[in-house]
Structure formats: C-alpha cells, structure tokens
C-alpha cells in the first residue's frame, strides 16, 4: 500500500483543521502554516520519487475498488504538479509570516490557505471526474474567501466577477460530467477512457469534449474566457495573489492536459486544432493586454494569460516533444510567476503603491532586489540561460517539427512583447529616478526577512532549472510518454478488475 499518494491531500486538511482549532493563537496558526506546508512539500517529493520509480501510484480510497470507488492516481504529470504546489505553498506560508497581518489571520487566512492547497492537490491526484469537480469547488470556496480578505471595494468587485464566471464554468463542467455518465455509465476517468473507445456516437463525444474545453478554459483563463483574471488577481493581499497566480489557473491547464490526452484522443485533428487556435489567441490577447497597463500586478496578471497560451500550445500540437515542452513550461512558469508576484509585494512595502508611474529608483537603494527581479522577469521573457528559455525553446522546436509555422510565429512575437513588458517594469520601478512630487510612504513594519527568503529561494530554483535542466527534462519526458500512452494509466487504475 502506497501512502504517498494520499498524504498531499490529507496533510493540508489535517493542518487546516488544526489551525481552526487553535484560532485564538496567532503564533500557533503561523507555526502550523509553515509546518503544514513544509510537511506537504516533503511528502510531495516522496510521491515524486515513488512515481518516478513505479510509473503510476494508485490508492483506492476507503478500499472501495475502482471503478466504483474514488481512486487517487499519481502519474508523472500529477506528481510534478503536486511538488510545485508544495513549493509554492511553502513559499507563500513563509512570505505570510511578515506579509499578511493580524487582521487577515483573525478572519481565517491560514485555515483557508490549507484548504486551498488541499483542493489543488486533490484536483491533481484524483482519478475520478466527479471528484475532480468537487475539488474544483473546494478550491473555489477557499479562493473566494481568500480573495475578499480585507474587504475593500475593489476586492469585492473583482471577487464577484471571479465567482460568477467560475460558477458558470462549474455548471458547464457538471453538464459535461452528466453527459459523460449518460454515455459511458461511469465516472472513473480510466474507465471512461476505456469505454469511450467502444462508443459509436463520435459526434456526441466531440460535443462533450468541447464542453470540457469551455469549462476548463474558464478555469485556466484561456481565450476567450480570461477576463475574470485581470479583474481580480491584483486586488487581494500579495501573498494570496502569488498563490493564485502560481497555482489556480494551472489546475485548469492540468485538467485540460488530463482530459485531452486520456479521454478525448479519438478525433485529434478536430479537437486539438481548436486547442491550437485557442492557444494562439490566448498568447496574443494576454501579452497585448499587458502592454496597455501600468499597474504592477495587472501587468503580471495579463502575462499569466499569455503564458497559459504556451502551455495549451504544447498540448494542442500533441507530439511527444510538444507535451514535454508543455510540462516543462508549467514547471518553469509556476515558480517564476509566483516569484514575480512576491517581489511586487516587497516593492509595495518600499513604495506604498503598485502604480509604476509613482515608483522608481529601487535599483539605486536596493540593487539586490533589482537582480532578484531580473532573474524571473528575463526568464519569463525566455532569455538564456534561464528556465524560460528552455521551456520556450522546446515548444517552438516542437512547433517547427509539426510544421505549424504560424503558431510558432505568434509564440515568437509574444516572447518579444513579453520582454518589452518586463523591461517596462524594470525601467519604471527599478531604473528611473523616483518621480518628484510623489511621496513614498515607507510602510515597512516588522521584519522583512520572511518576505525575502521565499523570493531568493524561488529565484535560485529558476536559475537551477536553467543550468541543470537535464533531470527536469527527463521528468517532463517521462510524463509526456505516459500522457501519450493512456493504456498505462488505464492499466494502473483498473488493473486486473478489467473484464
């Protein structure tokens, strides 16, 4: 029996419950926050090692056999995502020590943080499509509450758009699940994939596939369902933004990867062609939106969207190399993007604003932070030798090999525009002199060390992925091989219980 696959879900639930129990003590909640996320990171690494060794790690919850009970399944992609969740969760918990404030803690910041992480890990690990829906809802509830912590007007406005669109997506998701169940009579994803092969009504399968595309497209903020993201991600506390930016949309991307490799692989010419158009449009709109903005976190939010496009492009090309690129891109992106948001929190503490026009001169007073910003920023733009270069390189190479030249052209242009955006932030925030007549209210309070530590940690990871990319590439390669051969997954889940 392999426990490692369940622990990344059970641990955050347990620590979340404990931090509700000790709601009176700020100290206990903070310690539980760091301990819980640290433990989660540890077990997720354990899970990755197990998965690396065995290929698939499966556990039938409550000992109910598949396909009747709910199974937790970890393949290489899921294990990688869980490790990334651990990293970002731990970084956020550290950052929160000096970045979140007593008021938010009083309103349940830490229990919600644990609940969100449990939801994210649950979504990555579940092998049951309805259970996936439940984890999405867990995430939605937790993220909604985190989004409005603080209760400012802008937050409410963003949160309402966020919740409305996500509820709509949940409804479409539920409809799709209902149709799937009507067609196959099962909810276990491996079983669905197995049964769909014998279904003759391929037209209906494509319809269901498109419903899933819309549902997960909203979650992933893909074109044309992205507008909730820039409306809401710049409003909450910085630690919360970073957590959302790193993880939430990627759950949608993960669900797309899972569903469009395991289940809907019959009519690739049609479904994945649509995905390719979505990818191109997502890349372009994201980066163009970013060009028009002058608020730190808004620019970053729009860049999340354009980056989502690259990941979907990896999925849409549907060649081994493209999937490697997609997975590599997700790994690089989560670390880099969360880090950029965390840095925006440090500059906010220094200058008291997120508006680029009112900031400046940080490189003069704090060159170290300038360097720390440049690492993820240039990585995001895809400059060698940082992680983003290799991620983009693999995807573009895959695009050329698949002879999808137009989408390669789009990807290259978007890369260039990303560089422009990052240089804009660099020039405005770090390089130019502090504009005259604008007061800088230094809101430094308490030790800043906990804000710096995760930023340095994540920046080092970005450099490490760039310099020693080989093991990361091997992991991405293994997950791509598994994704392209769904029979392994089906075999691992259903095993001998298959007729």
């Amino acid at each position: 029996m392999m426990m490692s696959v369940a622990l990344p879900v059970v641990l955050p639930l347990l620590f979340g419950a404990l931090s509700v129990m000790f709601w009176r003590s700020h100290f206990a909640q903070r310690s539980l926050g760091v301990l819980g996320t640290g433990a989660m990171l540890a077990v997720s690494v354990w899970l990755l090692a197990d998965t690396w060794e065995h290929g698939h790690v499966v556990m039938e919850m409550g000992s109910w056999p598949a396909p009747f009970g709910i199974v937790l399944v970890s393949d290489m992609l899921a294990a990688i995502m869980v490790v990334l969740t651990g990293i970002i969760g731990f970084a956020t918990a550290l950052y929160s020590l000096s970045g979140i404030g007593k008021m938010s803690e009083k309103f349940g910041y830490y229990p919600l943080l644990h609940l969100l992480l449990a939801g994210v890990n649950g979504a990555f690990l579940t092998g049951d499509i309805f259970n996936l829906y439940v984890w999405f809802e867990v995430m939605l509830v937790a993220s909604f509450a985190l989004l409005i912590l603080g209760g400012e007007r802008a937050q409410m406005e963003g949160a309402i758009k966020y919740v409305t669109l996500n509820l709509l997506s949940s409804m479409i998701f539920l409809t799709a699940i209902g149709l799937t169940y009507g067609l196959t009579g099962t909810l276990n994803m491996a079983d669905i994939a197995d049964k769909l092969a014998t279904v003759e009504d391929t037209g209906l399968i494509t319809v269901i596939a498109m419903l899933y595309l819309v549902a997960f497209g909203v979650k992933a903020a893909a074109f044309p369902f992205f507008f909730w993201l820039p409306a809401s991600y710049h409003t909450p506390k910085v630690a919360v933004s970073a957590l959302f930016a790193g993880l939430l949309t990627k759950v949608g991307v993960y669900a797309l990867f899972r569903v469009f490799t395991l289940i809907f692989n019959q009519d690739v010419d049609y479904t994945h062609e649509i995905l390719l158009w979505v990818a191109a449009a997502t890349m372009l709109t994201g980066v163009l939106g970013a060009a028009a903005h002058y608020e730190f976190r808004r620019i970053l939010s729009f860049h999340i969207i354009s980056q989502i496009g690259y990941m979907i492009m990896g999925l849409a090309l549907f060649t081994p190399l493209a999937l490697v690129g997609g997975v590599f891109y997700i790994m690089h992106h989560i670390i880099v993007k969360a880090n950029l948001f965390l840095i925006s929190g440090i500059t906010f503490v220094m200058k008291g604003t997120h508006e680029l026009k009112q900031m400046g001169g940080i490189y003069r007073t704090n060159p170290m932070l300038g360097v720390l910003f440049l690492i993820p920023a240039l990585s995001l733009a895809g400059l060698p030798p940082l992680s983003g270069f290799f991620a983009k390189f693999i995807i573009i190479r895959a695009g050329i090999e698949a002879e999808a030249y137009w989408v390669v052209a789009v990807a290259l242009v978007v890369g260039l525009l990303t560089l422009y955006s990052m240089i804009k932030i660099w020039a405005e925030v770090f390089w130019k002199a502090q504009p005259e007549g604008v007061e800088t209210d230094d809101v430094t309070s308490g030790p800043m060390i906990w804000m710096w530590l995760p930023v340095i940690m994540l920046a080092l990871m970005t450099v490490a992925i760039g310099l020693y990319g080989e093991p990361i590439y091997q992991m991405a390669l293994m997950s791509a091989e598994q994704l392209l051969d769904p029979s392994q997954y089906i075999e691992a889940v259903l095993g001998e219980s298959r007729p």
Partner: protein, 141 residues
C-alpha cells in the same frame, strides 16, 4: 433580541434538553437508518438558537459553555483524524475500521471510525451554524 414571550421562554427551557437528546439520538441512529451527524448537528444548533431567541445572547453563550469556533475546530480535527486509523492496518485512507466488543447491560456493541467522522460532522455543523447565528445576533444588538 429578547422577545419577552413567556410561552416561548418556558417552552425554550423545556425543549432545549429534549432537542439536544434528540440530536444525539439522530447522530447515533444515522449509521444504518435516516439520521447522522449533519442532521443531528442541525437539530442541536436549532435547540441553542431557540434558546437564544427566547432568552438573550449572554445566556445562550452561557448555556453553550464553549466558544462555537472551538466546537468547529475540534469537529474538523475529529473528521480528518477518522481517515487515518485504516492506514495503520495497511489499508487505504478512509477505510472504515470496526471494533466489536461485549459490554455489560448493552450486549454486543460495535464502534467504528465512521462514528468518529459523524461526531466530527456533528460538531462542525453545530460550530459553524452557531458562529454565524451568534455573530448575526450580536451585529443586530
């Protein structure tokens, strides 16, 4: 929020213990028959809320003795912990574990992790409903 109704107040005094007893009955009955932690918790919370309506917030808090948020926390921890014992027997998380034994007076008894989970749910429902109700009542004052 005192309604100054003699009938309500007298009835509240009598109903509170009865309803609480009934909620425990529902909780224990729930394994094989209709009932369970959720509905039991709702009945118990309704009992306290009825008391709150007939008396006032202070006496409601007093009759509860503990802060509802503590009830909520303990319940959540119990519910999560009930998933764990199966692991020590080499089975999957959430696998129900049963202990059978013979007790004097009652005869053969069965205890299980399912019951722990249900008690957890019971406490979570009481805790969350009362947290909301007491806060609303205080906001109105």
């Amino acid at each position: 929020m005192n309604m100054h109704s003699l009938i309500l107040r007298t009835a509240g005094h009598f109903l509170l213990p009865l309803l609480l007893l009934f909620s425990v009955f529902l909780l224990l009955r729930g394994h094989d028959e209709p009932g369970g932690g959720f509905i039991g918790g709702l009945v118990a919370a309704a009992a306290i809320v009825l008391y709150l309506f007939s008396m006032d917030i202070q006496s409601a808090r007093k009759v509860l003795r503990v802060d509802p948020r503590d009830v909520l926390g303990v319940g959540m921890v119990l519910a999560v912990i009930s998933a764990i014992p199966g692991v020590f027997r080499g089975e999957a998380f959430f696998t129900a574990q049963w202990w059978e034994f013979t007790a004097p007076l009652f005869g053969e008894m069965k205890l299980s992790t399912v019951l722990i989970f249900d008690i957890g749910v019971y406490l979570v429902v009481i805790g969350s409903v009362l947290t909301i109700m007491l806060n609303l009542a205080e906001a109105e004052d």
